[in-house]
Symmetry: D2
Subunit: 397 residues, 4 copies
C-alpha cells in the first residue's frame, strides 16, 4: 500500500485561521505537510474574504478554495468529490471560536484537528467529546509536545515500568513575554490571550499550564484525583492570571506540581518536566528537545539522545526523521502528532471499531481533561487553594 495507507494519496487539509499575524496557523500548515503526506488544499484564513484570498497566495492555495468563513468552507467542500475534498479541518483560530467551528465540522462529517485549549468551557469540551464518541471521526488536539521523540520515549519507558512506580512529577512552563501589558500595545497574540472573552476563565494556566499538565499526564499515564491551585495576576490591570502553581494528588498516591509563568523575564518557552520513580528518574526540557536525562542512584547520569541508538524504544525511534546529532525540533514534533492523526484516519477508513480513546495523538478526551484541569484550578484558586476533586468520567490514562 502507498502513501497514507488506505488512502493511497496525499490528504487534503483545510485550514481555519492562519491569516496575516497568525503564528499557529502557519505552524499547523507546515507540520501537516512536512512529510508530504498532506497538502494544504483549502483555507478560511480570515473572516474577511479579501484577506483570506491574499493569504491563499502566501500558502500556495488556489484562490477558489480560499473561503471567507468556515461555514462557506463546509458548504463548498462538501460539494467536491472525495479525494479532492478536504479530508480534515485544522482549527487554529482563537480559543473562544474552537467549539463552534469544531462542532460544525464534526457534524458535517469532517475529521478535525484543533489547537488547544479545545474550548472555552468544560461543558463545551464534554459536548464535543460526546459528538466524537458518537460518530466515527478522528479528532486530534495539538498538544504538540507529546510529539517529541524523547517524550514518547519517556512515556513508553514508564509504561514498561523502567522507572518503577511513578511518585513525583514536577512540570513547568515558564515564559516572560507577558511581563508587561503587551496586550495594550495592540499585539494580536497578547490581546486575545489575556482577554477572558476570547481565552476563557484562565490566562497563563489556560494557555500554557495545560501543556505542562498534559505532558505530565501523557508521560506518566496517571489520573488526577484532587488539585490545590494558587493563581496570581502580577501585571496590574490584567484580567486573567499570568502566574500560578498547582499541586495535584494523583490516583495511587503520586504527587504532581504544575507551575506556569508568563512574567519571568527572558524565559522564552521553558517547558520542562521531571519525573521520579522508585527505580529511576528522568528530566526533559522542551528548549533542548534532542536530549533527555535519565538518572539512577549510584550510576552515571545517562543522556539519551534522539535517534541515539538501539537503546531507544520503538515509539521514539519511529518518531525521528534524522540521524542522531542532526537536531529535530518544534515543527517535527508537531508533524509527529499529525502523522499519528493521519495513521488513525487511514485506519479508521477501513476499521470503524478502532478504540480511538487510547490514541497516540492527544484526542478529544485530552481536551476534556485539559478543560477539567483549568476549571478545577480556577475553582481551587478562588477558594483559597482548597483541594478540589478532578475526578471525571471521561478521563483516560
Amino acid at each position: 500500500m502507498g502513501l497514507n495507507g488506505t488512502f493511497n494519496r496525499k490528504l487534503n487539509m483545510g485550514l481555519i485561521g492562519g491569516g496575516v499575524g497568525s503564528f499557529i496557523g502557519k505552524v499547523h500548515s507546515i507540520a501537516a505537510c512536512l512529510d508530504n503526506r498532506a497538502v494544504l488544499a483549502a483555507g478560511a484564513f480570515s473572516s474577511d474574504p479579501e484577506k483570506s484570498k491574499l493569504s491563499a497566495e502566501d500558502y500556495g492555495v488556489s484562490k477558489s478554495r480560499a473561503y471567507g468563513s468556515y461555514q462557506q468552507m463546509i458548504e463548498e467542500e462538501l460539494n467536491l468529490p472525495d479525494g479532492q475534498r478536504i479530508d480534515f479541518a485544522s482549527i487554529t483560530t482563537p480559543n473562544h471560536t474552537h467549539f463552534t467551528i469544531a462542532k460544525a465540522f464534526l457534524e458535517a462529517g469532517f475529521n478535525v484537528v484543533c489547537d488547544k485549549p479545545m474550548t472555552l468551557t468544560l461543558q463545551e469540551a464534554e459536548e464535543l467529546a460526546s459528538i466524537v464518541e458518537k460518530n466515527s471521526l478522528i479528532f486530534g488536539l495539538t498538544h504538540n509536545y507529546t510529539g517529541y521523540p524523547l517524550v514518547r520515549q519517556a512515556r513508553e519507558m514508564i509504561q514498561r515500568g523502567e522507572l518503577g512506580e511513578i511518585q513525583a512529577i514536577r512540570a513547568f512552563y515558564i515564559q516572560g513575554w507577558l511581563r508587561t501589558r503587551l496586550e495594550n500595545s495592540g499585539q494580536k497574540q497578547a490581546s486575545w490571550r489575556t482577554d477572558p472573552k476570547r481565552s476563557g476563565i484562565a490566562g497563563c494556566f489556560g494557555d500554557i499550564a495545560t501543556h505542562a499538565y498534559n505532558l505530565a499526564r501523557f508521560v506518566s499515564g496517571l489520573l488526577p484525583d484532587q488539585v490545590s491551585c494558587t493563581l496570581k495576576t502580577f501585571e496590574p490591570g490584567r484580567e486573567l492570571d499570568d502566574y500560578g502553581t498547582a499541586i495535584i494528588k494523583l490516583q495511587g498516591g503520586a504527587l504532581a506540581t504544575v507551575t506556569a509563568s508568563q512574567i519571568s523575564h527572558g524565559r522564552e518557552n521553558d517547558l520542562w518536566i521531571e519525573v521520579d520513580g522508585t527505580l529511576g528518574a528522568l528530566e526533559w526540557h522542551q528548549e533542548e528537545p534532542n536530549k533527555m536525562v535519565v538518572r539512577r542512584n549510584g550510576q552515571p547520569h545517562q543522556i539519551y539522545t534522539r535517534a541515539g541508538g538501539p537503546y531507544l524504544n520503538e515509539f521514539a525511534q519511529s518518531s525521528s526523521r534524522l540521524p542522531a546529532g542532526h537536531p529535530e525540533a518544534f515543527f517535527e514534533a508537531f508533524a509527529n502528532v499529525y502523522a499519528s492523526v493521519f495513521d488513525a484516519m487511514a485506519d479508521r477508513k477501513v476499521n470503524k471499531n478502532t478504540p480511538w480513546q487510547k490514541s497516540v495523538y492527544p484526542n478529544v478526551m485530552d481536551g476534556v481533561d485539559g478543560m477539567n484541569f483549568i476549571t478545577r484550578c480556577v475553582e481551587s484558586s478562588k477558594s483559597q487553594a482548597s483541594w478540589v476533586s478532578m475526578a471525571h468520567p471521561m478521563a483516560r490514562p
Copy 2:
C-alpha cells in the same frame, strides 16, 4: 592591623562533633581554617573519650585538648588564657543536640557557630535567640549557600533594585540519596536524619527545604506572610517526610514556592533558585555555583561568572579568592560564612553595639526563621495544606 583585625592573631576553634563517619564536622574545620585565620585548637569529636583522642590525630589537634564531652571542653577551655582558649565553638552534632550544646557555650561566654537546623523546636530557637540578644556574643548559623559569591551578588543586585520589584521565587532542593530505606542499613547520616527523635518534626523539609527557604529569604530580603504546604513520605515505613512542596505568600504580594525531595534518583545536591522581578530575572544552581543567569526580555541572556569582571558588585567581589575561570565551590562558600563571622568577632571585640541582627552571615534570627518555617509547614501539611501564618516577631529582612 594584622590578621583578624583587633585580634591580630589566628582564632582558636573548638569543634563539637566531627568524629569518624561525620561529614559536616570535617567541613566546618576545613572551612574555618581555609584562609589561615583560624586554627582547630580543641575538639569534643566524640562522646567516647578514646574515640575523641583518635580523631584528634586526624585533625592534628593536641590530645590534651581532645575532650570526651562538650561540658569538659567548656570547663577546661575556660581555664586557658585568652589567645590560647578557644574563641568560638562550632557545633556539628546531630540536630537534637544543638540546642543544649549551643546554650551551654553561650552561657559560658563563648561565641558559637552552629550547623542548621539550629534546634529541634521553634521554642528552643527562640530561647537561643533571646540569649544571644542579651549578651554580646556572635552566633553564626551555617546556611552555607549564602556564602557563594554569586548568591551574594544576587542579594545585593536585588537590594539595589536592579531586578525591580521581586514577585515570584522558585526555590528547589532535590536529592535522591534517601530513595531507599538507607536508614535501615546502619548508614549513620541516614539514620539520624530520618529519626524524629534526632531530627525533629520534619525530615526532608527540616534537612534541606530550610536551605532553599533560607536562600530565597537571603536573596530577596522578603518576609513571609503565610504558607501552604504538602509533605509526603514516599518510602514506606519512614517516619518523617522525604518530599514536599510549600507555597509562601510573601509580604507585599510576591509568591514563593519551595520544593524539596530526597527520593529523586540520581539527583545529588540540586539546590537552585529562580527569582522573577519586574525588571529582570535571575537563576542560580548550587551544583554549578560559578555562574548565574540574568535575563531581561528582548536582550541576550547574561551569564555572570564568579570574579568575571567589574560588573560584579563589591559583596560578590570580596567573596572570591580566585580569578575567574578557576572554579571555587562548597568549601570556599562555607569559608565565606566563617570569614564574615570572624569579621564580626573582631568588630564585636571593640564595638559592643554593632547591630548584629543585620549581619551578613546567617545568625540566630535566621535559625528562628528556619524553625518557624519548618513548624508552619508541618502544621499546614497536617491540616490539608491550609494557609498558616508565618508572622514572627523575630523575623529580619
Copy 3:
C-alpha cells in the same frame, strides 16, 4: 506579487537520488517544500525504474514522473510546459556522480541544487563553475549549516565589525559513527563514504571537514592563504582518512584550525565553531543551534537566542519561522538555504545581471573552494604537513 515573486506559483522540484536507504534525498525534499514554496514534482529516485516508481509513492509523486535515470528526467521534463516542468533539479546522489549529473542539467538549462562535496575533483568543480558563470542559471550547494539563523547572525555581526578584526577561528566536526569498519557490514552510507571511487581523495575531510571549513569561511568572510594538514586513518584497512586536523593561514594574518573526526565514540554530529576577534568572540554549536555565545572581556557572557529579540540583525531575524524558545533545527536551516535559492531564482527570472557570486546561499564558487580545500589538505598531508598554497582565482569572500 504572490508566492515566489515573479513566478507567482509553487516551484517544481526534481529530485535525483532519495530512494530507499537514502538519508539526504529525503532531507532535500522536506527542506525544499517546508514553506510550501515548492512541490516535489518529479524524481529519478533510483537507477532501477521499478524502484524509482516505488519511491514515488513514498514521496507522493505521480508515477509518470518517476524516472529511471536523470537523462530520462531531462529529456521528458523538457517536453513539459513551463509551470509544469521542473524549475530546478536537486542532486542527492553519491559524490562521484554529482559532476556528470549537474553538468547535464546545467547544459539542458535547468537550475541546480547540489549536495556537497560538489564534485570528485577540483578540476570538475572548476568546470561546473565555468558553466554556471557562462549561463544565467542558479546553482546552490547545500552547505546547509549556513542556513541556521544564528550562523547568519554571526556572519552579519562580523561583516559589521562588531567583533573587530577576526584573528583566530577554531572549527570542529566530530563524529563517531565510523569508529568501526561499518562499511564492511553493507551499511550503504558507510560504504560509499569510505570508498575513494565514490567519495574522491578524502574521507572524513571530504565529507565533514569541508562543512567546518565552509562554516569558517561563511562566518568570517576571510580568504585562505596556506594550509598545513595532517590526515590519519585509524580504522585498519580503511582506504580514506577518518581523522585529521588542518591549520590555515588566512589572508591578513588570521589563523584557522579545522579538526574533523569520524572515530570519536558517541559524538553524533558535533560541528562547532569558535571565532576570536579583537573586540569580541563568539561560539556556536550545531547540536544546540538555537543559541550562540558572545563574549567580551570583563562583561557577562551573552547568550543570543534564535528570535530572541531586536538585538538580532535582519539576516538572522528573516531566517526564523518560530518565536524564541520554540526550537528550530536541521530541516529549517536546510530550508533557509533553499529559500535563498528560490529568492534568487525569482530574481534571476527578470534580472539576468544579478551578481550571483555574492549570493547568500552557498554557490558553485563555494563548491570550488571546498574542492580546493580538500585537494590542498590531501596534498599537504602527503608531504609531511608542509604548507601548501590555497590561493585560487575563483575564491570569493
Copy 4:
C-alpha cells in the same frame, strides 16, 4: 599511625613568593594547609624584608620566620630542630627564578614543591632532575589539574583499558585576559608572563599550553614522538606568543593536538580535554570539574560525577572530600597534589628506595617533559611548523 604517617605531626611549609599582588603563592598556602596536614611555618614572601614581614601577618606566620630572601630562609631554617624546621619549600616566584631557588633548596636537603613551568630552559630542567635523581628528596611540580578527582578517574580508566587503545587527544587551554597589552598597564601578572626575561622562550605556550599538554600526557600515559607547532603573537608589540596550536605524533600512532590562546575574549580559564579510544571516549572541562562525559557509540552518553557512586575507581574516590553534588574545585584539586606529595614524603622518610619516578604527583620528570615540549614547540614554530623530535631520555609514561 597518625597524621602524615611516619611524621605523626603536621608538616611545616616554607613559602617562597606569595607577597602582596601574588596570586599563586596564596593558592599554594591554602592548598597545602587545606587538610590540616601542613602549616605555613615560614616564608620568604618578598625580597624586601619589610614587605616580607607585612605579608607574614596576612598569612599568620611568625615575624621571626618571615625572611627577606630564600638564602636567608635556608640558612636560618637549617638551624632549627627537625619538627620545627620546614619540611618542604614551595616555590611560587616568577618562572625565571625557579631554577636557582629550587636548586638551592634541593642542595640544602629540602624537599621542594615548585610551580610550573619548572625552569626557564630545558637544560636547567635536566639539571634539576639530575639533582633530584641523585638524592632522596621529593620534588613536586604543581600541574594542579592532575589533582582533580575526575582527571584521576580518567587516567585510571585509560590505564585499565576501559577506553581501548587511545588514538586521538584534543587538549585546549583558552583564555582571554591578555587580549590587550595589559602588560603595559603595570599589571604584575601580565608583566612577567609576557616578558621573555622572566618567562623564557614562550608566552602562552609556556604558561598554559604546558598544562594542556601535561593533562594529555597524565591522562593517556602516552609518550610524544614528534611535534609540529605554529605560534602567533596577535597583540602588536608583544614579545612572546599569545596563541598557538601544536600537533603531536604520539608513540604508537596516536595523534594529539594542543591549542592555547590568551586572546579569546571572555574565555576565562577554559582548559579541556577530549580523548578518543577504540572502545570509548571521554571529555572533561576544568571550569566544570565535577563532571566528565564518557561516550560509547550506540549507548546513552554517561555523565560521571565526582563522588557519584561506586562506578568510580579508587584513585578518583580517594581524591574527594565531599559527597556528590557538593562541588569541589580548584583549591581541592591543588590540595590533592599536595596530599600526594605529603604521602610520598612520609613514605620516603622510611623507605629511601621508593621509585618516585612513577609518582602520582607530577614530579621533576614532568618538569623536564614540559620544558622539552615548550622548547620543541618554539623550535618547530620557528622552522615553518616542521616536525621536530620530542624524544627525551627522561620521559616517563
